[in-house]
Assembly symmetry: C2
Homo-oligomer: 204 residues x 2
DNA sequence: GCCGGACTGGACTGTCAAGTCCAACCAGCG
DNA sequence: CGCTGGTTGGACTTGACAGTCCAGTCCGGC
């Protein structure tokens, strides 16, 4: 259980620690990130860290929540404006561009955390599972909008298509990061979109 | 660079250490596995470990190679016997069954290692990327067999379908492990197969 | 001004894990 | 038998890291 800061200053400090820790953990993993590393990177002191977080585990929890919120914020926003095939292509292009900009390193922060922490900590696993569920919700929303616009057939199994799309995203990100080639993500997303289009409503 | 044992006894010892370490690392991750844990689990001593491996990093390399070989052996074998849609369905069923048997924990050993180590160590990243490439080869082989049997159209883009299939596998495994629900893998694989069937050769 | 609580700096401690070292052990072989 | 080289047991050293503690500082309210 982490303490909620009472002052503006305290909030800033806690925020700074979480952001710094999130950056370090994203690039080297939670286990390989020491508290001293976080302290050095953020210019905070031991007592500040332990003032706001129970222990290292508490910090990691905060980082997980932070990353989930960040990724979901971006995805929910981007997917919320999808209501045509062109929009969907644009969204896919954005995903690939982001990965390319990072030199195809890191992949999806949530995916990486999920792979590493799901088997280690039950509480974190459920947080991550929840994040994937929320991401699914955003995708489902977009698909239903396409359906409402008559682009996807009414009888299509939206639920399965949603899960399938998310798995293509995650798998594509993992392959891209491992092979350092954003093209793998491109192929995975194109494949997923092709699948969606296969469910296109027939001409009226 | 790890030393190759000169005697039968030495070979057995090294093998025992790698297998034990692989099991521990698969369930808790490389960073969370101490050498003492490995020693305790295998009944080996410090000097044995350092006799056969340079250091911990060397052991992890050996474990990565071992896991890649194990998974690929299984996959290459299972995919080599695929030459009809029924075979492919059977293969998918096997994958889901394996995951279910493990209580949807752990996911793909290669995928988990890739997520954790790709950003940490370049040598390991290339090993993992190589493993994915070999896995792709096995998938491509199966698809080309389907194509040769007239089940997939000659003009289909086998290369993209291969990458797409692998990304569905990995994404499905990650979602399954995070949500502790093998059904997510089932959906991902069904989706991939549906996509392949969409490329079915037209009736002659 | 001054009191109390939120916040901060940083020294300190205990634990644990990586890696070293050496004294053995156990073949096979001359 | 005694030597040699591969192998083994386990104590020991060293360093890093999580977590503790206390002496403060800062700031709003009275």
């Amino acid at each position: 259980m982490s303490l909620t800061p009472a002052t503006q200053q305290g909030r800033a400090t806690k925020e700074r620690i979480v952001r710094g820790a999130a950056a370090l953990i994203a690039e080297r993993g939670a286990a390989a990130t020491s508290l001293d590393d976080v302290l050095a990177a953020t210019g905070a002191s031991k007592s500040q860290l332990y003032h706001y977080f129970e222990d290292k585990h508490g910090l990691v929890e905060a980082v997980v929540d932070h990353q989930c919120a960040a990724v979901l914020g971006l995805q929910a926003h981007a997917l919320a404006s999808v209501s045509s095939w062109e929009d969907l292509e644009r969204w896919a292009g954005m995903m690939v561009a982001i990965v390319e900009d990072h030199g195809a390193r890191g992949g999806c922060p949530i995916g990486t955390l999920a792979a590493a922490l799901s088997d280690t900590d039950e509480r974190l696993r459920t947080s991550l599972a929840e994040a994937f569920r929320a991401w699914s919700d955003a995708i489902r929303g977009a698909l239903m909008r396409l359906q409402a616009n008559g682009l996807i057939a009414g009888r299509a199994d939206i639920e399965s298509l949603t899960t399938f799309t998310l798995s293509a995203i995650q798998g594509g990100l993992l392959l891209a990061k491992t092979s350092r080639d954003a093209g793998q993500l491109r192929i995975a997303l194109d494949g997923a979109i092709l699948q969606l289009r296969a469910n296109a409503a027939g001409r009226p």
